[in-house]
Amino acid sequence: MASQDQYLSFSSSGFGKWLTGTLGLPQPIPLVRYRPGKPELRGPVVVGAAPGSKIEDFLASALRAMGAVTLYHPDSADWRLAAGRHEVMTGRFVPEDSGRTGALLFDATAIADTEGLKALYAFFHDTIRSLATNGRIVVIGTAPEDADSIEAAAIQRGLEGFTRSLGKEVRRAVAVQLVWLKPGGEASLDSTLRFFLSGRSAYVSGQTVRVGVPVTGVVDRPDPARSQAGRTVLITGASRGIGLSIAETFARDGAQVVLLDIPPAASELAKHAERLGGAALALDITSPDAQDAIAADAAGRGGYDVVVHNAGITRDKTIAKMSASQWDSVLDVNFAAPLHITEKLLVAKAIRPNGRVVFVSSLSGIAGNLGQSNYALSKAALIGAVGKLAPLAATEGVTVNAVAPGFIETQMTAAIPFAIREAGRRMNSMSQGGLPVDVAETIAWFAHPGSGGINGAVVRVCGQSLLGA
């Protein structure tokens, strides 16, 4: 798919780099994505913390599990002792001297006043130049609603502006995120750190996510290469594009996959299902018997662990020109069917404890888009569904989240006229489109057995797009 973006290949070639540089054109850097068997980190993780943090042991334990080598900012000497307690390799960070680093991780949870922000400034001021291309930045804060004072809440909210600005200024394929910790979430940071610090989150940047008490309690760390082992995953719209990549990613991580798509795609579907050692379900999700058929399939498998609602269509027209059927079909496929299937499965208890529901929304649902009033409504409605469903599903030990992809290189986007397509590709901090696997990895993170503390989240997979920001 990467080859679709010929400008990316051209501008990273020797001549192309010179030419684009001279003309002041965007110079996208090829994103380095996660590959099984390859190191997850690009280099040592520089760690810093504002004084008073209580989570350094959790961070040290998570970094140890990742096999991370760490360096600590000299102002964060407590890290040395926490690293020692968890046998994390660590040493002092010395500016201009520690070599290229792979990630910057700052623990801002204890910042409660502007005085405390000085540590944030010093850390990034001193370390950011060391960060390698394709590096990662993660700031961990306290969820504003849980802060102890008005000033603390305001400052914690302020971190969003800070991280998003960093994303826009570092560029060089560096992804920047903010994690808002909620009480009781400390012990469940593993899967989130692993996602945000590795190439799994290559096209996710400028995002904020809350991590709280896991819906089914803290679980043991699974083998990172087989995190979905023993889990059964239903993926709709899985015969091609993003859905197929989701199925491949879950199969890679050890899941039993059930690929669903419309009957006309049945033969493609069967082929891919067989290749991935999974099952095929040829079914139109809007057909009257769809809910029962899916519930029956789930029952036959002892329930699903993960349901990914990826099937979606566009019928673009400005509202005046749009037919009623264009309006209806988009709302049916993209919104009504996934919502009602989810309700049916939850009521039937066909999603097992520590289960996951993930909706594939869209940046259009956040920013709106010309000619997509129907589509944007359906995708924004999914975000609304997440908000209402999440607390209800939690009582069943299930989380409900959504990903909102930006410009992803697929057959859907290949059909967009050139100029609009080019703009869509470049108008983000990565200056390029994402790949289906970027969406898939984000869904796999939500679906990770250790991600039970993430519920009701909407995470964009958009390379920090300028749209809807």
Binding site: L81, E87, M89, S98
Partner: protein, 428 residues
């Protein structure tokens, strides 16, 4: 009556080292001072010793600049240790690091001090280069000259050639003129050590060290430095086929020693924290193991016909006899791999009845060891060998192995230039 207390047990609390780097690579621009200070500061950070006054710090280097008269003390002054901590330099070739530990340990055992740091550092990238001997003499003469005329006359003896011929330190024995590799090649021939067995030992060393890094075993022993997080001599994918292709390095025609089964010139530093049990308890620091005793031996490789690197073979039986132990009473053997052949000669000599009788004065040979207990987390062939830093690397690693094992006993054997050898027993 003297009030000197009875000898106390000496606890090994932990170590710190920077990753070792092949010479002229990552640390090419660094001095011994830089590296020793880095390792020392890392240890201070690890054990939170900021501002603490320790009994002493003893460390040294084999290749040393004349400006490094007080190498160790200067390093102490560059750390956050209390500057009231005394320090001195030790130098006993490749035995330096372990000898320094024995010195510090002895003082702790005798109650003279409660805590100390031992270590070593070496760089072959920043080796002391001496000016040409003729040039040096002319300069000294000019310096002694009373009048300008006398000074100029002395300097007029300087020839351009003198400036172009600096004297580089040589990895050669002063008395035989042979390099250490040439000496070891002689040993390998005498003991009929095959090329294959040397290569096997080298490959195992790389695989073992790589596994130690991968499992995180070395995480609290190695501190990232100058962009390195592992020893850069380490080749995790080393195979017998690959190393078998190398040409002999010291005897092109009939030799068996190669670049793979000999240690490369290496830069690095290591330090170890030693203390009395009371000090450890008072500082709430767990004891990894105890440094039970050490022994140093030397052999006459010049006039006698003993191999240059055979001294540890003599030191070990002497030490075992004092302790009432046999060679088989160990859970771990850490034999410094200066050359794979050195290790194999050592093991073979301990098994050989004639040699044991004639040279070691033993009626019964020490016998063989369980090779699965040898250098299980890798050795110098993989990590590299910054001469004086090797002792600290081995001591800290072994202490941690014993701790991880829930106790046990380990033997350290380190050969050194000048026909010397330093050995020790660590246990818990």
């Amino acid at each position: 009556m003297s009030s000197a207390p009875l000898p106390r047990r000496v606890a090994i609390l932990g170590g710190s080292r920077i990753p070792f780097a092949r010479s002229n690579t990552a640390y090419a621009e660094l001095s011994n001072q830089d590296m020793l200070t880095a390792a020392l500061q890392a240890l201070v950070d690890k054990f939170n010793l900021h501002g603490e006054r320790l009994g002493e710090v003893a460390a040294g280097a084999v290749l040393k600049h004349s400006r490094d008269i007080a190498l160790t003390r200067e390093s102490v002054l560059s750390t956050t240790l209390s500057h009231d901590t005394p320090a001195y330099d030790v130098q006993q070739a490749c035995g330096t690091g372990l000898e320094a530990a024995i010195l510090v340990a002895n003082k702790i055992a005798l109650g003279q001090i409660d805590v100390g740091i031992a270590g070593g550092v070496d760089t072959a990238s920043d080796a002391p280069v001496a000016v040409n001997e003729g040039f040096r003499r002319a300069l000294m003469r000019a310096n002694r000259g009373k009048s300008t005329g006398q000074k100029l006359a002395a300097l007029s003896k300087v020839r351009p050639g003198m400036l172009l011929k600096p004297e580089l330190p040589r990895n050669a024995e002063a008395r035989t003129g042979l390099s250490m590799g040439e000496h070891c090649e002689l040993m390998a021939k005498r003991w009929e050590i095959s090329r294959e067995s040397q290569d096997e030992l080298a490959v195992a060393s790389h695989h073992n060290l790589a596994a130690a890094y991968d499992s995180g075993f070395l995480n609290d022993l190695v501190v990232p430095y100058k962009g390195l997080t592992r020893d850069n001599n380490l080749r995790p994918d080393s195979t017998l086929e690959k190393v078998a292709k190398l040409k002999p390095a010291y005897d092109r025609a009939g030799g068996t020693l190669t670049a793979a089964n000999s240690t490369p010139l290496t830069d690095g530093a290591s330090v170890v924290l030693l203390a009395s049990e009371e000090w450890a308890r008072a500082h709430d620091l767990p004891v990894l193991a105890y440094l039970r005793t050490g022994e140093t031996a030397a052999v006459d490789f010049v006039d006698g016909d003993e191999g240059l690197l055979m001294a540890p073979v003599h030191a070990v039986p002497r030490m075992l006899e004092k302790l009432g132990l046999t060679l088989q009473d160990f859970d771990f053997y850490e034999i410094h791999e200066a050359f794979a052949a050195q290790v194999l000669c050592t093991l073979k000599a301990w098994e050989d009845p004639v040699y044991s009788r004639e040279r070691l004065k033993l009626d019964v040979p020490l016998g063989s060891i369980d090779r699965t207990k040898l250098n299980i987390h890798g050795g110098s062939l993989a990590a590299g060998h910054p001469f004086a830093a090797t002792g600290g690397r081995i001591l800290a690693t072994l202490a941690k192995m014993i701790d991880r094992n829930g106790g046990g006993r380990g033997l350290i054997s380190i050969c050194a230039a000048g026909g010397q050898g330093v050995v020790a027993v660590v246990e818990k």
